[in-house]
C-alpha cells in the first residue's frame, strides 16, 4: 500500500483495499445506541406542567392576603393595582362574563377586555402561567407558595374567589371559573366559499379603504 502513495490513483486504491476488510452489515441504520435512558424521577424537576384539572400541581398554598404584597411589588406595574392592565399589558380583571358575551354579540371590541374572569377556563392554568412565566422581567423566579398566593390575589381581583380563600394544590381545580362553560372545540371549516369563475356578483363591490400610513418604523 505504501508504494502506491506516489501514484495519483493511490488514495482510491488504498480506500478500496481497506473496504475489503469491512462488514456491510451495518447499512440498516436506525436509532440503535443513540441517546440515554432517563427515569421519570430524574425528569421531575423539569416537569412543571400543570393540567387544567390540577394534575401535577405542586404541593403548596397561598392566601389572597399573602398575594397582595408580591402582586403589588412584582405585577402591578404592568397589570395595574386593581388588575386593570397598563400600557399594553394584559388586564387581570376584564368585563364580567355577561357583559363580555354581550359585547361579542354586539360586535364590539371585546379583545382588550379579556381577563381571568372572562377568558380563562381553569384556575390551575393560571397558577401554571404565573409560576412558569412571571414576573415578566424575571420569568420563573417565584416560589410555589408565592405563586399560589399571587394566583389567589388575581382570582380575587377578578371577583372569582373571596378574600378569605386559600389557593392550594387541593383547592385550585375546583375554583369555578366564569368562562369555563363557554369554550367549544374547533368546528372549522365554518365557511363554504364557491369557486365561481364568472359573473359572480350583480352588485358593484362596496370598497372601504383608508389604511393607516407610516406604521412601518
Amino acid at each position: 500500500m505504501s508504494k502506491l502513495k506516489t501514484s495519483k490513483f493511490g488514495l482510491g486504491l488504498a480506500a478500496g483495499v481497506m473496504a475489503l476488510g469491512l462488514s456491510t452489515a451495518g447499512i440498516a441504520g436506525g436509532f440503535n445506541g443513540i441517546g440515554a435512558n432517563i427515569t421519570e424521577k430524574a425528569v421531575d424537576p423539569w416537569d412543571i406542567s400543570v393540567f387544567y384539572d390540577g394534575t401535577n400541581l405542586p404541593k403548596g398554598s397561598g392566601t389572597v392576603e399573602a398575594g397582595q404584597q408580591p402582586y403589588d411589588a412584582k405585577c402591578a406595574m404592568c397589570h395595574g393595582a386593581f388588575g386593570e392592565g397598563a400600557e399594553g399589558y394584559p388586564k387581570m380583571a376584564g368585563d364580567p362574563m355577561p357583559a363580555f358575551i354581550q359585547s361579542l354579540k354586539q360586535g364590539l371590541d371585546g379583545v382588550g377586555n379579556r381577563g381571568v374572569n372572562n377568558a380563562w377556563g381553569h384556575a390551575p392554568t393560571l397558577f401554571d402561567m404565573i409560576k412558569r412565566h412571571m414576573p415578566f422581567y424575571a420569568p420563573g423566579t417565584m416560589g410555589v407558595d408565592e405563586s399560589y398566593a399571587v394566583t389567589c390575589y388575581v382570582l380575587n381581583l377578578g371577583g372569582i374567589v373571596d378574600m378569605d380563600f386559600t389557593c392550594s394544590n387541593e383547592t385550585l381545580a375546583d375554583v369555578d371559573m366564569p368562562a369555563r362553560e363557554y369554550y367549544v372545540t374547533d368546528t372549522r371549516p365554518d365557511v363554504d366559499n364557491k369557486r365561481c369563475m364568472s359573473d359572480c356578483y350583480d352588485e358593484k363591490p362596496k370598497v372601504v379603504g383608508a389604511a393607516v400610513t407610516g406604521v412601518s418604523e
Binding site: G35, A36, N37, A119, G121, Y183, C200, Y201, E203, A211
Partner: protein, 457 residues
Amino acid sequence: MSETTLDQTPQSDAREGVASSDRRKFLRKSVALAASGAAAAAAGNAYAGDVKLETVTDPLKPGATRNILGRGVVSVPYGMPSKFEKHVVRRNVSWLTADTVASISFTPWQDLNGIITPNGLHFERHHAGAVDVDPETHRLVIHGMVDKPMIFTMEDLKRMPSHTAIHFLECPANGAMEWRGVQMDSMQFTHGMMACSEWTGVKLTDLMEYVGVDPKSTWLYAEGTDGSALQRSIPMEGAKDQFGEPLPADSCEMYKDAMIAYAQNGEALRPENGYPIRFLLPGCEANMSIKWLRRIKFVDKPLVTYQETRHYIEPLPDGTIRQFSLVNETNSVINYPCPDNQMKGKGAYEIRGIAWSGRGKIAHVDVSVDGGKNWKEAELVEPVMSKCVTKFKLPFEWNGDEHLIMSRATDETGYVQPTLMQLRNVRGTNSIYHKNSIQAWKIEKTGEVKNVQIENF
C-alpha cells in the same frame, strides 16, 4: 395596448426609431427616477430610443465599479445582501405590543421572489425574548406514556435518520389587525406573520417508535427552555378536549408531519427561530412549533395551557369561545403589485403572489382584477408541495384604469379561500386569529396600490 406615445413599451419605440418630444420628456423623467440623474446625457445620444441602455449602465463608459478592485473573498465571511437591498428587512409594529421581547416581527414578502424565506427574514414571535442556548449542554427529554423515557444530546439527534421537508410556518394572528377594517398600508404587515423554509431534523413518528409510545396516548405536549417555557398541547388520534369532545380529525393527523428540526434552509436554526432545536408542526398555528425545545411528554389529555385558554382562542358572536382551532386554513395574497409595489406606468405586468394551506397542497389559485366578479386561473409555479408556499402568476396588461385585484386559493381538499364578509358573518370581528380571507388591493389611476376591503360580499 394603449393610446398615446407615453404608453408604448420602450422596445416598440426602439423598433420604430421614434424620438418625439413627448418621448424625450418621458425619458428624462425615467432617468431622474431610476438613476437619480447620473446618466442624464439621455435624450439625443446614440441610444435615444432605448430606455434600457440610458437608464441602467452605458457599457462603453467607465462606471463606478469598472476601474477599481472589489472586495476580496471572505472580506464578508458570512455573506450579506447588497447594500442597495437595505430596505428588505423584518419590521415590527410598535403599537401592537407593549415590549419587543413579547412581540412579533414581519417577513417582507413584498420583496421576496421565491417560496423560501431567507433565514434572516423569517418572522419572529417571542414570548420572553430570543435566547442563546448552548448546544453542548442542551438536552431533549421525551417521557410520559412511553416504554423508555429518554434524554438526547444535539449530536444524538443528528445521528438519527433525518427528515427534510419544505413547510410554511404561520402565526394564527397573521392578518389580525384587519378583522375590524383596513388598517395596514403594507403587505408586510397584512401577511408577514408567515414564512417558508426547508427544515431538516428527526421525524416525530420515528422518535415515537424508538421510545415506544403507548397507543393509549392521545396528546403530547412540547415545552421550550426560554423564559416563557412555552408549552402547547398537540393532539393525536382519538384526542378529546377537556370536556370530552373530540378534536377535528384533520387536527389529530397533523403530528404525523412533525419533526424536531435542527436545520433551516441548510444551516443551523437561527436563535430567533429556536436554535439549537425546535418542534415543527406543519399546517398548524406556528405557536405550537415550540422553539428552544427541551421536553416532549406523551399524555392522554390536553394541558389546556395559558396559550390554549387565554391567548389562541376565538371569541365568537354567538357567545362561545372557540379553542383548539389549530389548523391554518388556505390563504393567498398578491405580492406584486401590492401597496409596497406600486404600478410604474402602463403596459405589461405579471401579477404574482403566494398561496398556502395547512391542509395540504394548493390546487388552484384564481385571480380577479374586477373586485371578484370574474376570475381567471393563475399558473402555479412548481414545485407545488404540501403545507408549503406555492407561487402563482398571471400576465396583466394595465391600461391605467382602476382595478380591484385579488387572489383566491383552493387547496387539495376542495376548500376555497373565503371572502372577508363570509368570515365576519360567522366569526364576527373579535376572533383575532386565523383570518385567511381574500385580500383585495385597489390599483388607482395614478398607479398607487392601496389596501382595501370589500364590504358587500
